[in-house]
């Protein structure tokens, strides 16, 4: 069969690219070797958010409700039901994408794809040709040589989202976003959760001061962090798994019933026949692309986790839309400064644009505005007073460079900041925008005012 556009991978990059290409009138097919929706939908964002919410509801019974004068006795949870609910959500999204493909006329080819030329791939023995091919193959968890993943006792995020029961002791290697999210889930459900983190702070992609303020909030919930800890080996025994690590020159060990390895992800580039058609990789193993998402073979494009940039579903989707529009002859732009990143714990953490550390590295002259939620009226009403908004703007032009939020609903609040950055708005633009009262969003306005030394409620 011959297509105008062939997409390899149906994650949030691939399926969005395929639908956009079809919308633009291009004859489009999508190849998927697993389930529709890729990592995000099946073993990532979606199932983890389902479990995060279920576990948070249970946890709130024990803590938050009492603050509001609500007493609950004998609350129990059924882990099996939680997991069933999660599976149902994932399945409905699988079907949703299949329906969207059908509606838009995207042909789905289940199977693995191998490139055979700059304009053709082989799927289950069938040769498909296309004028443009989009690689959207995503990424895989990185593992450690001495910890063979069995997804039962030694798990990646994939296994951690499908454990048969709540482990008594969960040991997590890597206190990044995935680690603290899954750690939160099991801590709320009763596990002892301990982290070993190589760096000296948790969630290293967050703005430094947010990361520092974040850690004690999670510790208060019972999460235990060992920072600057280098994992050196493991002893896998019948009863438990012992992890050996070094901290400040001394050797230590910790044991757990289940070990989650969440030390990052690597681009999925194997078995695609990249070398056969001459597609070059970067030093980091990502597919090298130019400003128009073209690989070293101009008819083959690449987007999402398999190329450079943050490994985020929405980043991949933006690139998917852009690449489809480029192929159709339009002139799209992806604004990398405006891609938000979110940690869905409680409280949440979210950031967009540059961190304070990045602005320093770039030697930018900045002004910073801070506003804590404890003086925000809505946060007071709901009892969600933890956290703050941090806003960074250029000292001369006042243009926003970064916005960082630690607090409940940060994931929703960050949207306003992303729009502001996309539009090149100034702190004053936010400061002079009316925000409803009382809302958490007022904290953004106040942080912008604080940046000019004009905060009203501080």
């Amino acid at each position: 069969m011959n297509y105008e556009v062939l997409v390899i991978g149906s994650g949030p990059g691939g399926y969005v690219a395929a639908i956009r290409a079809a919308q633009l009138g291009l004859k489009t097919a999508c190849v998927e070797k697993g389930l529709l929706g890729g990592t995000c939908l099946n073993i990532g964002c979606i199932p983890s958010k389902a479990l995060l919410h279920s576990s948070e509801l249970y946890s709130a019974l024990g803590h938050t409700y009492a603050i509001h004068g609500i007493e609950v006795q004998g609350a129990r949870f059924d882990f099996g039901k939680m997991m069933e609910r999660k599976k149902g959500i994932v399945k409905s999204f699988n079907q949703g994408i299949a329906a969207l493909f059908k509606k838009n006329g995207v042909t789905l080819y289940p199977g693995s794809a191998q490139l055979t030329s700059p304009t053709s791939v082989k799927v289950l023995g069938e040769e498909l040709t296309a004028a443009s091919i989009i690689l959207a193959t995503g990424s895989l968890p990185i593992d450690l040589p001495f910890l063979p993943i069995d997804e039962e006792r030694i798990v990646t995020s994939t296994g951690a989202l499908s454990l048969p029961k709540v482990p008594k002791r969960l040991l997590i290697i890597g206190a990044g976003i995935i680690g603290v999210e899954l750690g939160s889930v099991y801590k709320r459900l009763g596990s002892e959760v301990v982290f070993l983190e190589f760096l000296d702070r948790i969630c290293p992609t967050l703005d430094g001061s947010l990361s520092k303020a974040f850690q004690p909030l999670l510790e208060k919930q019972g999460l235990v962090f060992h920072l600057s800890a280098k994992v050196t080996g493991a002893k896998i025994e019948k009863e438990e798994i012992r992890i050996l690590y070094e901290q400040q020159g001394a050797s230590h060990q910790l044991s757990g019933d289940v070990v989650l390895v969440s030390i990052g992800r690597r681009p999925y580039t194997q078995g695609l026949g990249l070398e056969k058609v001459g597609i070059q990789l970067t030093e980091k193993g990502q597919i090298a692309i130019n400003g128009r998402f073209q690989t070293s073979v101009p008819t083959i494009y690449a987007i999402g986790d398999v190329v450079d940039g943050p490994m985020l579903a929405h980043k991949a989707s933006e690139e998917g839309v852009a690449v489809a529009e480029l192929i159709a002859g339009l002139h799209p732009t992806v604004h990398y400064m405006a891609i938000p990143s979110v940690v869905y714990t409680n409280p949440e953490a979210a950031g967009v644009g540059l961190t304070e550390e990045e602005t320093k590295k770039l030697q930018l002259q900045t002004k910073i505005g801070l506003f804590p939620f404890k003086t925000n009226s809505r946060a007071k009403c709901t009892g969600e007073e933890e956290g703050m908004v941090k806003m960074i703007a250029d000292a001369q032009s006042d243009r926003l460079l970064g916005v960082h939020i630690l607090g409940s609903h940060a994931s929703e609040l960050i949207g306003e900041a992303a729009l502001a950055l996309q539009k090149g708005a100034t702190a004053l633009d936010i400061a002079t925008t009316p925000h409803a009262h009382p809302t958490l969003s007022e904290a953004l306005k106040e942080a912008a005012l604080a940046l000019h030394g004009r905060a009203i409620h501080r």
């Binding site: 732009t333 090149g424 100034t426």
Partner: protein, 365 residues
């Protein structure tokens, strides 16, 4: 083979143009006759089309001034569209990554470095009580607007322009239009408007008073032997005056059809320079916007322009009685260097008489 793209000729008096928009980026593939870029001259915007199919290379940028006939790029016909690309053999030698810098096509990836390099608005001054903010915006005048401005001032300075007025009772024409509209539309697939009557009446008056359609050229008076009448059309880019050729040979339906065609072209921005060239007289209708009375400015080198206005029911004296009639004021601005008051006034009276008794048009009066 590389086919050169040249700035097409754009009418006699036009020697240069500005690149106003690039519609196809350099490095992209084009089909024959695909729109490549838009040129702005002091008369009209004109689209340049691809002379052949292939890979486009442009050597000009937006806002660049180009001369008529100048080469502005080429189409390489040996590079085929990617869609038609034959199945290539696996590349032996890994090709170099096409970097954004090496390709002229713009990047779709706005990285943080691009964000930081982008021009920033200066820091907004904090509004102070004693300096009330003056909200305003600024943009560059288009070439067309600039030309209109220069020409209007030139007319005011270089002619002896004045305006004479009259009024016309539109009852008769309205009656014809109401009565015959349906059959006219059925026969011609176009609406019967007022303008065709005005063009017919103008034609009759011009034949009677040829000096009104004449032009001054140095110390000579040029009187056309063919009646080309321009009709002003308002567009988003400014006022344009497409010209109906040989009005003496056109019937009502042909006039209405041409006018509809011009209106469509003006809206779509596809009016060509040929449509705008020449003309010995212009009609402008301020009435479409509700103007009751105005003094139009001449369209040089023409010597006269007729202004139509809104039709409004007004009491007038008819046979010793006051009657309510649909009235329109007419204005004729003319160059007094060439046209005497007598001719101008009689021209307008002639026009009025024919419009009030359209049967006269049948009799060539």
């Amino acid at each position: 083979m590389k086919v050169e793209i040249k700035v097409p000729p754009a009418g006699e008096s036009v020697s240069e143009a500005t690149v106003s928009r690039i519609l196809k980026e350099s490095g992209s593939f084009v089909q024959v006759d695909e729109e490549i870029l838009e040129l702005e001259t002091d008369k009209v915007n004109q689209v340049v089309y691809a002379p052949a199919a292939g890979k486009l290379e442009l050597s000009v940028k937006v806002d660049q001034l180009v001369k008529i006939g100048q080469s502005i790029g080429s189409v390489d016909t040996e590079v085929q569209m990617p869609a038609q690309m034959p199945k290539a053999e696996p590349t032996k030698q890994a090709p170099k990554i096409p970097q954004p810098s090496s390709s002229a096509a713009p990047s779709a990836r706005q990285m943080p470095a691009d964000f930081l390099a982008a021009p920033q608005k200066p820091a907004p001054p904090l509004p102070k009580a004693e300096e009330p903010a003056q909200p305003s915006s600024r943009k560059k005048m288009s070439k067309l607007r600039k030309t209109i401005a220069e020409r209007l001032v030139a007319v005011k300075q270089q002619t002896a322009m004045l305006t004479t007025f009259n009024e016309v009772d539109m009852s008769a024409i309205i009656k014809i239009r109401t009565k015959e509209q349906e059959s006219f539309q059925k026969a011609n697939s176009v609406k019967l408007g007022f303008m065709s009557f005005f063009i017919k009446a103008t034609l009759a008056a011009l034949k009677e008073f040829p000096i009104v359609g004449s032009m001054l050229e140095g110390d000579e008076i040029v009187t056309p032997t063919q009646y080309d009448i321009g009709v002003a059309v308002s567009t988003e880019r400014g006022l344009m005056v497409p010209v109906l050729r040989k009005c003496e040979e056109l019937n009502f339906a042909q006039i209405e059809k041409q006018l509809a065609d011009f209106a469509k072209k003006a809206r779509e921005g596809t009016i060509s320079l040929d449509d705008l060239k020449g003309g010995c007289f212009t009609i402008t209708n301020g009435g479409t916007f509700g103007s009751l009375l105005s003094t139009p400015i001449l369209n040089p080198p023409q010597s006269a322009i007729l202004g139509m206005h809104a039709i409004i029911k007004r009491p007038i004296a008819v046979e010793e009685q006051v009657a309510l009639r649909p009235m329109m004021y007419l204005a004729l601005s003319y160059d007094h260097r060439l046209i005497d008051g007598r001719e101008a006034v009689l021209f307008l009276v002639h026009l009025k008489n024919n419009l009030e008794a359209p049967a006269r048009l049948l009799l060539d009066l």
